[in-house]
Amino acid sequence: MLRVLIIDDEPIIRKDLEALVSRHKDIVVIGACGTIKEALVLIPATNPDLILLDIQLSDGTSFDLLKLLPAINFNIIFITAYNEYAIKAIKYGALDYLLKPIDEDELNEALNKIRSLPPPKEHFSESLEVTNNYLQTNSEKRNKIVLRSQQYLQIVAFDEILYCHSDKGYTTFFLTNNRKVLVSKYIKEYEDLLPAHVFLRPHQSYLVNFNFIDRFHKDGYLILHSGAEIPVSTRRKDHVIAFLTGEEIPRSTE
């Protein structure tokens, strides 16, 4: 039985979410509230497995709430109507989130993910830490991202990533020390998340860390220090050359 807590400042939405979640036989809603004040009482009292957590609460944000808790020993699905900044932070931590108005299919998918593969608690805390780090620091200090593979959460520093390769909605991260991580997300998402002045997209299917590029071969591929060869598409060749020679100031990540 998955014990769920709903935290949203709007009574109608709380009621709606409760109705939606209750359709799952293996899930039970053990409580609902709308403020941080209430949540700080309710969470320790009910000890839930999962919280559906609206980011904007009447007396603060959900991140404020999480900071006030002594330990995070539950899963979270964040919910937000509109908050680009928070969503980006959540993505860095590879956490789950839903957008309002809530699509039932998306909710079910998120619930399924948690049901089948609840991420280890300690890793989840680390994910939250990466997200919080994103929210609290400026761009220079953000240097980590969480990759969520089928089996585990992997915290990776930007300078550990040699390059990414995408294939049919999956992205493989090639890391230093010959490690690899397969993530079920499109490469575009990581192009948006990773700093644009370090990561170069020479090809539809590749995202390369500039610091590991050894040279550019005229025949149209990049050679990394590791010896790996990354194709450069004809369309992006000029862009790649400009990037490598430092002529093009890449767009900012922010």
Binding site: D9, E10, P11, I12, I13, K15, D16, A19, L20, G34, T35, I36, K37, E38, Q56, S58, D59, G60, T61, D64, A81, Y82, N83, L99, K100, P101, I102
Partner: protein, 634 residues
């Protein structure tokens, strides 16, 4: 012919002597006494060492007292000390080093010597060095400065300065001026040695201008009456010189007598070999004039003997020639020829070397002249360059001022333009902010609508959707204008309140009261001034209350302004909120818009927010806005 051999170094020492010993009253007694004893050491010990080989002894003495001198700190002492260092280098003929020290002394004196005596002592010394370097222009100008000063203020240095000037004029070739300053110096000299030197120089001067009578008279009147004035031990020199003058006058007997006295004095005082050689030659010459050739030859031999001892050969060829002449007279022709031969040889040697020396002197003279010219040209061009650069500086100064003024002007203009730009910019920003209904609000509203539908509350859903559509339309229309009709703004507000009360129906109720007849009123206000406060009240004030929240909005018309009061019974802004950043941001934006409005309408727009707790009337917040409005005709 003169008996003064080591004149230069002697005079240098005299110069130093004269500049010593002034201006010590200011020091405490012991310091002053110490300075005196050190000065005495310089004058006596070091000065004497300069006249003895090796001169380096003097240098060692100087170096050994250096710490004492600087520790004592007497400016007079230090200036003298530095000049003594210079004197050492003059003595070893390193004139550049000498100048360095003298200049150091000069600079030092300029700083610390209020009497200026040390300054001019340094200048006089510099003049001497320049003279030795054959830079006569510089020498003369320094010496003249010193002369003018010493004549007026420093009588002790007056005579020596005259002597210097006279020497420089000699070097220049102006014999008349030479004589003038020698006589002037002589009259004012009190130091015996200096007086003797001057006297000798004066007699030589008369000799040079072919007035041996005058020389004789000068001697008889000024020197002979009291030879002790010229220092003990110098009697021989004086009397010899007098003899030379007498001999020239043809008074050989008297001359020989004087030579005899001189010889006696020389022997008594162990005079040096060169002086002896010269005196013996003079005696021989006198005897030759008396046709006493044998006697003359005897003295010649003595002279030659002393010449050989002293290594001083100036008179050797003359002596040999004189001896040869004597032998001719004695009819010893063979010996005479032999002597003439060797005399000729010596003469050739002398002439040769003197030729070379003369040629060298000439050469250096021309070099020096060329250098002087060069320096003069340089000075001239420097002066013109200075003039030009002064002009340039003035021009630059004027230019800088003009540029500064221009910059200031530009900054002012820029600021004014910047202000205008900023006003425009803010207005644009405001419009942009207004035009965007907050996305968060939109999606939340849609989310609520979805929940209503999912909950199958059909009537509610339709009503909700209608309100939302109307609000959306009003928002799109209003936000395009800087001013909107009050009626429209009230309609938007009413729709917003209605939507929010449906969303939070269990949380709060509201009232909206606008003055009678506002629908017909042709009144315009900036859009979205009131709604943010309503939003804040619902979002932060009324959530999570123990009782039912209530919100009231009242709009009243006064003279040219609208008074809007938004009141709630919520937490107040001091309690219950962890995050209020957004709230204060929206307040700040409204504040800014109101300022803009004040500026535009010329009427004050104000915003006051009161926490009811502060006034003791329950809880909640009262926001009161005074908004100047415009009418349709405006």
């Amino acid at each position: 012919m003169s008996s003064c051999l080591n004149v230069t170094s002697l005079l240098l020492c005299l110069a130093l002597l004269f500049s010593c010993g002034k201006g010590r009253e200011k020091h405490p007694v012991d310091k002053s006494a110490e300075a005196d004893s050190l000065l005495g050491f310089l004058k006596q010990g070091v000065n004497n060492a300069f006249n003895k080989e090796p001169v380096s002894n003097a240098k060692h003495m100087l170096d050994s007292i250096e710490p004492l001198v600087y520790e004592n700190g007497s400016p007079v002492l230090i200036a003298n000390y530095i000049r003594f260092q210079g004197t050492y280098f003059v003595n070893i003929d390193e004139l550049d080093s000498a100048k360095q020290y003298i200049n150091k002394a000069l600079n030092y004196s300029r700083k610390f010597d209020t009497t200026l005596k040390q300054v001019y002592a340094s200048k006089l010394m510099l003049a001497n060095v320049y003279k030795r370097e054959k830079k006569l222009d510089s020498a003369l100008s320094y010496a003249r400065e010193a002369y003018i000063f010493s004549k007026r203020y420093d009588t002790a240095a007056y005579a020596i300065t005259c002597l210097r000037l006279a020497e420089i004029y000699t070097a220049i070739g102006d014999i008349e001026m030479n004589g003038k300053y020698l006589l002037e110096g002589f009259r004012n000299a009190s130091n015996p040695r200096l007086k003797r030197v001057l006297a000798n120089n004066i007699s030589r001067y008369y000799d040079n201008i072919n007035q041996p009578d005058s020389a004789l008279i000068f001697f008889q009147e000024n020197v002979l009456p009291d030879t002790s004035k010229f220092g003990p031990g110098n009697y021989g020199d004086i009397i010899q010189n007098y003899g030379v003058l007498l001999q020239k006058q043809g008074n050989v007997n008297k001359a020989i007598e004087m030579y005899g006295r001189a010889l006696g004095h020389y022997k008594e005082h162990n005079a040096d070999d060169a002086s002896m050689a010269l005196l013996y030659f003079n005696i021989a010459d006198a005897y030759k004039g008396e046709h006493n050739y044998a006697q003359s030859n005897n003295y010649i031999d003595s002279s030659l003997k002393y010449s050989a001892l002293s290594g001083f050969t100036d008179e050797k060829s003359n002596a040999l020639k004189t001896k040869a002449g004597n032998l001719f007279a004695l009819q010893d022709y063979r010996q005479a020829y032999l002597l003439l031969d060797s005399s000729y040889g010596v003469f050739e040697e002398e002439v040769d070397s003197s030729f070379i020396i003369k040629a060298r002197e000439l050469e250096t003279k021309y070099e020096v002249k060329a250098k002087d010219d060069e320096i003069r040209n340089l000075n001239a061009s420097n002066a013109s360059v200075r003039k030009i650069s002064a002009l340039q500086r003035t021009l630059l100064f004027v230019l800088v001022i003009i540029v500064l003024l221009l910059v200031a002007f530009a900054v002012l203009l820029y600021r004014r333009r910047g202000l205008k730009e900023k006003l425009k910019q803010t207005e644009l920003e405001q419009r942009l902010l207004r035009s965007q209904m907050e996305p968060h609000f939109i999606f939340n509203t849609l989310s609520t609508l979805q929940s209503l539908i999912r909950n199958e509350e059909k009537e509610q859903s339709i009503k909700y959707l209608n309100r939302f559509a109307r609000l959306l339309r009003l928002n799109l229309e209003n936000s395009r204008e800087p001013f909107v009709l009050l009626a429209r703004e009230v309609e938007a507000l009413s729709n917003y309140l209605s939507l929010q009360s449906m969303r939070f129906n269990t949380i709060f109720t509201y009232t909206l009261k606008v003055y009678e007849g506002y629908e017909e009123d042709d009144i315009y206000i900036p859009p979205m001034l009131i709604q943010p406060f309503v939003e804040n009240a619902i979002q932060y004030g009324l959530q999570d209350l123990n009782e039912m929240g209530s919100l009231s909005v009242i709009i009243e018309k006064t003279n040219g302004t609208l008074l809007c009061i938004i009141e709630d019974n919520g937490h107040g802004f001091k309690e219950g909120k962890i995050s209020s950043g957004k709230q204060s941001l929206s307040t700040a934006i409204i504040q800014e818009r109101l300022e803009l409005l004040s500026r535009k309408t010329g009427r004050k727009a104000t915003l006051t927010i009161t926490d009811k707790k502060d006034t003791g009337k329950g809880t909640g917040v009262i926001v009161s806005l005074i908004v100047p409005y415009t009418t349709g005709s405006q």
